[in-house]
Symmetry: C2
């Protein structure tokens, strides 16, 4: 007699979305603590600074596009960074709705300090992987990202 169709089962600890979520939250919490302890900067604020560090003089909307943050999150992060003097804002000449954002001298200093810390945290995470495995990981994540969000921009 053929086997009865076995009831599909779900073991949470083997369920990819669950594992992804736990892993990501652990990693993010570790890193957030790092930035916060040393510099009083949140993950969202750091994302804004990271984009400005590479690409100064862009607007909040553009930052949102690059960082996958919604405009409210960007607005709040920007507001905090203005208060703390890490970034500066000036109105765009062409369009008064837009605000051009740049790192201040203080912001650049902090940026230059955080970059190696961030890269170090990433290295700690992947150093147990061989270069081959690291490449696999990048490729797999790219595929998953596309599957999760089909209309995602390609970078």
């Amino acid at each position: 007699m053929p086997d009865a169709p076995s009831k599909p089962s779900l073991r949470l600890s083997q369920f990819l979305p669950y594992r992804l979520s736990v892993l990501s939250n652990t990693v993010s919490r570790n890193i957030a603590d790092l930035y916060d302890r040393e510099f009083g900067i949140s993950i969202w604020q750091w994302r804004v600074m990271a984009v400005l560090g590479e690409n100064s003089g862009i607007t909040a909307t553009e930052i949102g596009q690059v960082t996958a943050m919604d405009k409210v999150a960007v607005s709040r992060a920007v507001s905090g960074l203005l208060d703390s003097g890490h970034i500066a804002r000036r109105a765009s000449k062409e369009d008064a709705r837009r605000a051009i954002l740049t790192l201040t001298a203080k912001g650049k200093e902090v940026y230059d300090q955080i970059v190696p810390i961030a890269l170090g945290a990433e290295r700690d995470l992947v150093e147990s992987l061989s270069p081959d495995e690291q490449a696999q990981l990048a490729a797999l994540m790219e595929k998953l990202a596309r599957a999760a969000e089909p209309d995602r921009p390609l970078w």
Copy 2:
């Protein structure tokens, strides 16, 4: 003349913690919408139900250990599921502080409906990967999880 040491640079879109976070949030949001639309159940509530579905009659603390939720999150999820009648609670005979949790008939019904939906969502995510790649992914995630949280329990 040898090259000057190049300043370490960080491209956010290539930074693993960032990519993990964006991917995980996208996947979680998709799934949360699914459970919520059809059953009015949050991700946290689903995690509790998922554990009880495999392993009935355990306590909130044990659920917390298995699901990587803190006790407050478990308490809130349990409270919601009691209200909605998906789970039931009785005091433990041996230790009156402990509460034994089980799925109700209604809870089992919903559980049996959600399992295939969850597995389907997982399949949608990984179906673009070959079986080999799926195995690689699982192995890589396991290594990363261990690197991120060295004292993590092994399952």
